[in-house]
Amino acid sequence: MADTEIQSFVNACATANIPVGEPDSYVLPPAVVIPVSAPFWQRAARVAQGCGLRWCSFWASPVDESYELFCVLEKSGDYLVLRTRTGKEEPLPSQAPIYPAADRLERHAHDLLGIEFVDAPDSRRWTRHQAWKEHEFPLRPDFIESLSQRGKTAADADYPFVRARGRGVVEIPVGPVHAGTIEPGHFRFQAVGETVLNLEERLGYVHKGIEKLAVGREPDSLVRLAGRVSGDSTVSHSWAACQALERATAFEVPPRALCLRAIMAERERVANHLGDIGAICNDVGFAFGQYQLTRLKETFVRTSHTIFGHRFMMDRVVPGGVSCDIDSAQITSMVQEAKGLTREAAEIVSMLEHSESLEDRLMTTGRLTPEQADQLGVVGYVGRASGRGVDVRHDRPYAPYDRLKFAVPVYRAGDVAARAKIRADEIGTSLDLLCQLLQSVPEGPVKESFPDVKIACEGLGIVEGWRGEILTYVQLDKDGTVTRFFPRDPSWLLWPALELLVQDNIVPDFPVCNKSVNASYSGHDL
């Protein structure tokens, strides 16, 4: 029944004397759910690591007087969900000593739900700043919050940053407010001269309470919220949320709608990659690249506006399908555009590749070794630039990607140049995918009405957003309202990579390192 990777995990658990329940592939397809008892939570992770499984996500859901906990693991497209239950005061063995990526998500779960972890390497608060108190937990059902009663939130203070002492060591605090129009986040550098010894991130400044806001929503309104988790990934996040809802209710989406969703997702990817390569050029003072690529991005998003009615195609993916349609003239014009853009982008990219001064700045800068990438379980273009070819569209294809042919570019250099190159390659791949999709748009409706939910159900959406794998969990009660929503943006796995890759670089190279990773603040802060 179970997939091979999962069977070998179950066997390994048996060898290690870890009692696991019967694998269940019906609850959260395409993943296989394996119940584990709470005391074995960490040891199960150790076995998983031994089997070479990648750690993807962790979240908890309050159920009556206890918590239900989920951990998602993956190997070669086989997804596995470890599931357990703990009582309210019962601590859980942390998985962070085994999978460092678990650290922040566990701290996030502690700040929002009050789950205690034993053996956690870092027990400092993470998402909580000053908006709620230490012993308040916003995601618990008994937490009733009215912001108007609270007044203005105090500035965050007294966060215990890692300290470095020594002759010539200086601390450089940067942010949370930056000079450019970017999101807020605080970076604490320890440097000797211009060399970075250590970087510590402090995020959470754009915590919007997405998970709390989701509770009690209807599917339609949940997907609108999901589209706002991170504005630049609005299509992928809405798609992931829709996929979770549709899988929960075993709803069959019309093929035309799936095709349109993929068209929009690829357009999102192309637009963001164009902008990112331009921004990387800008951060090393190479204005030519920035302006040319920004121009290409702008014309591209304007087409999106003309055809889909929104530059970022926000709220176009809805439960049951999509809220817009395209005609044959628009298909022709998009194919034309994709072909023209392929040519133009290739031309500019080849100019960038032949610029020695640019090469000098980007190569060897901000190197994330394949070993580090494996350890952190990095996904998306950051992972693919460091030898990890994780791509959901390829590894666990969801419709319509199951009928498409494309290559997943992978490099091992792991530097800024490799991350820029991956993006350039993916622009080509995505434009080619766009042409494939546009030339085979199925006939039929673009939306079918999403059914009323009669029983409590849950679903898992796994979509390859432009930044990487988005994993969205949705739980509905028997009235069809949301009781739990957790979108795991790839940024959760990318931010820790930035801390590592900037070490031993010089302070003035941090902006370009940061841009080459371009993790989302909003998607991470939730």
Partner: protein, 321 residues
Amino acid sequence: MVDLVNVLEWVFALLQMALFVVAAPLFTAWIKRVKCWLQNRRSPPLSQPYRDLRRLFSKQVLLAHTASPLFRTAPYLVFGTTVIAAAVVPLIALELPTARIADAIVLVGLFGLGRFFLALAGLDVGTTFGGMGASREMTVGALAEPAMLMVIFALAMGAASTNLSTVIHSMLAQGLALRPSLLFAFLALLLVGIAETGRVPVDNPATHLELTMIHEAMILEYTGRQLALMEWAAQLKLMIYGVLVCNLFFPWGIAQTLDPASLLIAGGLLSVKLIILGAVLAVAEGLVAKMRFFKVPVFLAVAFTLALVGMLSFVMLESAS
């Protein structure tokens, strides 16, 4: 009668200095315009730097509560030293009373003085970026100043003087001749000028990334008229280097007497030279990315070596003739 001529000459020297100061923003605007053209963008009008200065002058000054009197006086000192430096450099006429103090070593000293106060002001408020900018500026300065002095010595060997007017006179007297020492000194001065005026690839005047800044980091905390003076001083410094390049190596056309006709010709020709130089600079900046900060010493070492080679080639090839 002699006195009257003398007074007139002084008046003209002051006018020339004023022209220098007033024209400086225009040179910056011109470079920006060419860059915009190269990037397929519409450029702001040439009057934009003037509008910016006017806007800043009419704005309120905000001071950090940690700012000392030094922070408040630094803009005037930086602007003042740069204006005096402008007075030292012959713009369109040579035979001026200021020629007596037109010494290149004085010029380097004035720039050094301005840099000293600029860096102190960057440190004064105690912010991260100001300190980083000051540290980087001193690193650049410590390497750029010796290179600049070497350029001057290479030129001075031909003229047997470090006086800028004398150097230009001797250039004019020798006529158009390709001399290796001049070629090397010219290249060295270009490199030093790029580093000293904070242009790409050493610094990026257009960046908003605090962590990468040099000059902009030091003046981040300035507002209103103080910021205006700092900006203007930077524009003036760029103009001074531009004029140095034009007048030291291509002095033909500069007025040797103070009659209106030759002054007009001198002004016109200098404008043409600056327009060409600005365009060349903009094109060069468009072609390269900013270099890594730790490559700047190498860049300036190249400038130093070029100047040194210039000097040696003068000794070996030219002094005998």
